[in-house]
């Protein structure tokens, strides 16, 4: 239950955090830290249960009619992710207090951050897949808000939109896939689905469901060819990049794949698709990274490569591969988060992230340099950091898989990643400064403490592999594979092929790193030649295409002339209703009672009004004539004993005449098209509309009237709703919900008219002022 309350508190914090921050200023730090620390405490509390390979589950009914429940289940995998999310989250809060100090959007940042933290915890703790989906989408939305934090800059807005469109587009596919999965298994419960592998795999829906779910996971985890949004997302402030775009959110796709392994995995399709896309992403990420000079973009592309490795390992799917995937998730979150923090610290101090302008910062930023070395050891895969163990495992899994090519691809790509690691972790601090180098000015504790802590944890887990394997990795692996799998991580395995590969990676990586100036221009040239066929360009083309299509459609249907709108509306009405009427039986000409003389007079008045409106040349006269027709119609209501309607009609007509009069002042001269084709068309359309309505009314009145509803209202108006005026009782009681909707629409219309009146004046002013400027 504590977990449920925690998530609810997170949503409350989303809305109150900006206010708390404004009130408490720097004292908000300890208050904000309470949330992730509470999460850590809750997780610590259940650690014994997790070690025993069991799980904590809570469930509350949410949408019982759809069988969707608010059910959480925390097992080894959710536990490990929960630790990462809340632990790194706490450090991000500390870091942001230093990094975003005096940032104009500082207060709202914390609101978005808590939204994300809560949503991400929800993703990894959800037992119901639709609950998971809701949290999944919330992480996309919070990511959009956080990337767009610098919204005055166009680049940030564009990147935010790109990330949202790609991940939310994938989210739609995911939703369809999850619905399909529920159709096959008859349950939206993850644990139930995970026991039905045979049924799912044999279903004819298996392949479409798999493809849809993979689309969701691949877009979220930035797999090739959807990888391009992640480097774009670097427009976000560094704490966001460290948290969302390297340590946690981008791993949501990987999490989902791991989570659904028992349900969907074990088939050739699963194996082929995941390893193929994983390796492609690994290669693309490593290659693209080699062409970058911006610290954050370098880190972003290596993150893409690491995510590719994780997907590849999950695709292999045996217990060794899952073990190495989980270890990599842990190691990567620790070192990549730390390196992002370091990059942010450098940016903060030297005001640049360009490799070519950085160097010699070790003197002014000793603690940041220390953190960079700690994290760098892990990224390079040097003992005794956790990264070393994880890299050994990756090679072992790749070697054991069927084709030896996998290990070769991994070797090439990981060498590239190693080179980038050296650039990011060592170049800014120890390269000899030259005349281009930017000067750094000191460092702050809030900016170096978080990466140092992460680096120390990474080192500690490497030195004590027993704790890492038993407490963290094994429960997660068992939660993925759903069977007891002993995990023993160790630093030293003896002289193995893996060790040789690790050494080789390091050697190639170092050579690459030292010769940066020589080959980086070549990589950049290749990337520029490939740019026209890059997925990012494809995305842009799709977007412009969509805009063109929308503009085309809008220009056709809504060209700004009221005539056109009316014409389109009336013609489509005639067409749609007319087709149905023609298909129904021939007109039932029932016998009519002969009209009474005052009815004839009233209709005569209306007809005179109609004729005069078409002949008049003054707007004012036209408005008055229309009002006259309205009043006559009100009289007809009275004749047929509908006083309520008549009364409304009278007041409405009065107000509309006033409205007309007020509007007429603002309209240009009344120009009249006399004769010619447009006038003929107008006559044809209006006559057709009149005929249609007449025929419709006749047809409807011939249909035997079902009086069940009428008599129900008449009988129960007083009994159930305590009112004798049936019309009003229907409005405010029986169909009160409709009325509520209607008055809401009315209110919106009022606001809309107001906006049109006020804004149209403004845009004109803007237009004229800009014209004056150009003159």
């Amino acid at each position: 239950m504590g977990f449920m309350i925690l998530l609810l508190t997170g949503f409350v914090l989303t809305f109150t955090a900006p206010w708390i921050r404004r009130r408490l200023r720097k004292w908000s730090l300890p208050v904000f830290l309470l949330y992730p620390l509470a999460a850590l405490a809750l997780l610590w509390n259940i650690s014994e249960t997790i070690q025993k390979q069991s799980a904590i589950a809570v469930s509350l009914p949410w949408v019982p009619s759809l069988g969707v429940n608010l059910s959480l289940r925390i097992d080894g995998l959710g536990w490990l992710f929960g630790l990462l999310i809340s632990g790194i989250g706490a450090l991000v809060i500390v870091y942001a207090h230093g990094y975003l100090h005096h940032h104009p959007q500082e207060n709202r940042f914390y609101g978005f951050l808590f939204l994300f933290m809560t949503a991400m915890l929800g993703v990894v703790w959800s037992e119901d897949i639709f609950l998971l989906f809701v949290f999944w989408e919330l992480t996309s939305i919070s990511s959009f808000l956080l990337i767009g934090l610098e919204h005055p800059e166009e680049k940030a807005r564009k990147a935010a939109l790109q990330a949202l469109l790609v991940t939310a587009g994938g989210g739609l596919a995911l939703l369809a896939g999850l619905v399909g999965l529920t159709l096959i298994t008859g349950s939206s419960n993850l644990s139930v689905m995970n026991t039905l592998n045979g049924k799912i795999v044999q279903s004819e829906l298996y392949l479409p469901v798999l493809l849809l779910i993979l689309a969701g996971a691949f877009t979220k985890s930035a797999q090739f060819p959807f990888h391009f949004w992640l480097p774009g997302a670097m427009a976000a402030p560094t704490p966001v990049s460290a948290y969302l775009h390297s340590a946690t959110m981008v791993k949501a796709g990987v999490y989902l794949l791991a989570r659904l392994t028992p349900a969907l995995g074990g088939t050739p399709q699963w194996h082929t698709l995941l390893t193929l896309f994983g390796l492609a992403t690994l290669l693309a990420g490593a290659f693209l990274a080699l062409g970058q000079t911006d610290l954050k973009r370098l880190l972003a592309y290596t993150t893409v490569a690491s995510l590719g490795t994780m997907v590849f390992l999950i695709g292999l799917g045996d217990s060794l591969a899952i073990k190495s995937a989980i270890t990599l998730i842990l190691a990567h979150a620790l070192y990549k988060g730390a390196l992002f923090f370091v990059a942010g610290g450098i940016d903060h101090s030297a005001h640049t992230r360009d490799l070519n302008r950085l160097g010699g910062l070790a003197g002014t930023m000793p603690f940041t340099a220390f953190a960079a070395v700690l994290a760098g050891l892990s990224m390079l895969g040097l003992p005794p950091a956790l990264g070393f163990i994880s890299k050994e495992l990756v090679y072992e899994a790749a070697l054991e898989s069927a084709s030896g090519g996998n290990a070769l691809i991994a070797l090439i790509a990981l060498s590239g990643v190693t080179a980038v690691g050296i650039w990011v972790a060592f170049l800014p601090f120890w390269k000899k400064p030259d005349e281009q180098t930017a000067r750094g000015h000191g460092e702050e504790i809030t900016l170096w403490l978080p990466p140092v802590l992460l680096g120390l944890i990474s080192l500690g887990l490497g030195l004590l592999p027993g704790i890492a394997s038993k407490a963290l990795v094994q429960p997660a692996v068992e939660a993925v594979l759903l069977k007891s799998t002993p995990v023993k991580l160790a630093l030293w395995h003896g002289f193995t092929p893996m060790l040789a590969l690790s050494g080789l990676t390091l050697a190639i990586g170092t050579v690459l790193a030292l010769n940066r100036m020589r080959f980086q221009p070549a990589v950049q040239t290749i990337l520029q030649t490939l740019a026209p066929i890059s997925p990012e360009r494809g995305y842009e083309r799709g977007l412009t295409g969509l805009k063109h299509f929308a503009a085309l459609q809008t220009n056709f249907l809504q060209n700004g002339y009221f005539r056109r709108y009316l014409m389109v509306t009336i013609l489509s009405g005639i067409l749609l209703v007319g087709i149905v009427l023609l298909q129904s039986d021939s007109l039932p000409w029932t016998s009519f009672t002969p009209p009474r003389f005052y009815e004839v007079i009233l209709v005569g008045v209306i007809l005179t009004g109609v004729f005069s409106v078409t002949r008049t040349s003054s707007r004012m006269v036209a408005a008055a004539l229309l009002g006259m027709m309205g009043f006559t119609i009100a009289l007809i209501y009275l004749l047929y004993s509908a006083p309520d309607l008549a009364m409304v009609q009278f007041t409405i007509e009065t107000l509309s005449v006033i409205l007309f009069v007020l509007v007429i002042y603002r309209l240009p001269q009344f120009t009249r098209t006399r004769g010619g084709p447009p006038a003929v068309l107008d006559v044809v359309v209006s006559v057709a509309a009149g005929v249609l309505v007449t025929v419709l009314v006749l047809t409807l009145s011939a249909v035997p009237h079902d009086s069940l509803v009428t008599s129900f209202y008449a009988e129960n108006s007083l009994k159930l709703a305590q009112g004798r005026n049936v019309v009003n009782v229907i409005l405010v009681d029986f169909r009160g919900f409709d009325t509520l909707g209607e008055i809401t629409v009315l209110a919106l219309a009022g606001i809309g008219v107001f906006a049109l009146l006020k804004l149209s004046g403004k845009t004109e002013a803007i237009r004229t002022s800009s014209q004056e400027e150009t003159k």
Binding site: P643, D644, M647, V648, T651, I652, T654, L655, I658, L659, L662, V663, Y665, R666, L720, A721, Q722, G723, R724, N725, V727, N728, V729, L731, V732, D733, G736, F737, T739, L740, I743, T744, L746, A747, A749, G750, I751, V753, F754, L757, K758, G761
Partner: protein, 139 residues
């Protein structure tokens, strides 16, 4: 409006209170006789617009206890809250709740009546919001 009619001004001074009382009368009797919040609101709006024509939109705004946009907001909130009340009794949204004893003058009071008051206010608010703004911007 450039030229104001003295006749209209004097007439409005007497008509406006009458029209407003009539609109409230329509609102209250609506549940049993011809009337209701919608018509009542329209009549009240017409009364205010009449005043705006006779005097000036600015003078009318000064007479309003709340600006039209606030009237819309208050009206919508009242209508919504009247429906929410039933939730506290464990009934579905918008179930009618009635006082046992009728109040003097007003008669029986229940949540549908409160809802109608909300409708009344929204209608006045929207009409005045549109018409007063149009009248003010006149050239």
């Amino acid at each position: 409006m450039k030229a104001r009619s003295m006749l209209l001004q004097v007439a409005v001074a007497y008509l406006m209170p009458l029209l407003l009382i009539f609109s409230i009368f329509l609102l209250i009797r609506g549940h049993n006789e011809v009337g209701g919040g919608f018509v009542g609101g329209l009549v009240a709006a017409a009364a205010f617009i009449l005043h705006a024509i006779a005097e000036s939109p600015k003078a009318t705004r000064a007479h309003l206890p709340l600006s039209p946009d606030k009237l819309i907001a208050v009206g919508l909130s009242i209508a919504l809250l009247s429906g929410v009340l039933a939730l506290f009794q464990g009934n579905p949204f918008m179930t009618g709740i009635w006082l046992k004893q009728p109040l003097p003058v007003i008669g029986k009071v229940g949540t549908p009546f409160i809802f109608d008051v909300g409708v009344y206010l929204v209608v006045i608010g929207v009409c005045l919001h549109i018409l007063l703004n149009l009248a003010e911007d006149e050239r």
